[in-house]
């Protein structure tokens, strides 16, 4: 915290979501919440697939066949994005709860690190799914 600066930059006097620029940590945090909600909504789908895959040979083969469809793969990609983002952002929160990297510059660096790792993992998943 810089206490010697007598005149901090003027704060915006509006709440225009299109003009406000969120810091990277805020984007990460909103994404953590959104991805968590999406994962919650997808839970019954996941449990259904898990149950069916264990329901005999036909069930297992049926689940495998399902993933041949491009539409199912698209849904899978979105679901995996939610999982990857929620997992990485969540691990970052756990590390910060231990008291590590709590200063603003460090927090911004780790938020960027999450997004970079996430981008690389999603790129690899995209290649695997195409």
């Amino acid at each position: 915290m810089n206490t010697t600066n007598p005149r901090p930059p003027a704060r915006p006097k509006h709440l225009d979501l299109l003009r406000i620029r969120f810091p990277v940590g805020a984007v990460l945090s909103v994404g953590h919440r959104a991805s968590g909600l999406l994962l919650f909504l997808l839970m019954p789908v996941f449990i259904y697939l898990f149950a069916r895959s264990l329901d005999g040979r036909e069930g297992f083969d049926g689940v495998v066949a399902l993933f041949a469809s491009p539409l199912v793969r698209l849904v899978l990609f979105v679901a995996l994005w939610a999982l990857v983002h929620h997992l990485l952002a969540g691990l970052r929160f756990l590390v910060m709860d231990l008291g590590l990297g709590e200063t603003r510059p460090r927090a911004r660096q780790s938020a960027w690190l999450v997004f970079i790792l996430e981008g690389m993992i999603m790129l690899a998943i995209l290649v695997a799914l195409l």
Partner: protein, 114 residues
């Protein structure tokens, strides 16, 4: 820990369950990468091992609790009228409990009892 107006317990549970969820997911990914189950027999045998059933059961308990705390936080942030809040919370809780019973039945079915 007092139960009066404190979020500390939920906060702690959210972090412990989150850590277990992450560890379990990494373990499953590694195991799948090392020896992917090619057919139903291999998959059911891997899932049915008693240790795996216990670990998976624990995973779903942690998942349901983690989802409950997280979704409850979102509901408390955005749904303010008391009746609507109670209704949505009740719906979420019922959905989570139903899914818990569903998973318990699946796991009981697949277990290779020793």
């Amino acid at each position: 820990m007092t139960r009066v107006l404190t979020g500390l317990r939920a906060w702690v549970v959210q972090r412990i369950s989150g850590a277990y969820l992450a560890a379990f997911i990494f373990y499953v990914l590694l195991a799948m990468a090392a020896a992917p189950p090619r057919d139903y027999t291999a998959w059911a045998a891997w899932m049915g091992a008693p240790a795996m059933v216990v670990a998976t059961g624990l995973f779903f308990v942690a998942l349901l609790y983690h989802a409950w705390v997280g979704v409850r936080d979102v509901i408390l942030d955005y749904v303010h009228p008391l009746a609507a809040r109670a209704a949505v919370l009740g719906l979420v809780l019922a959905a989570l409990l139903a899914q818990g019973i569903w998973v318990a039945a699946v796991l009981a079915e697949v277990t290779a009892w020793p």
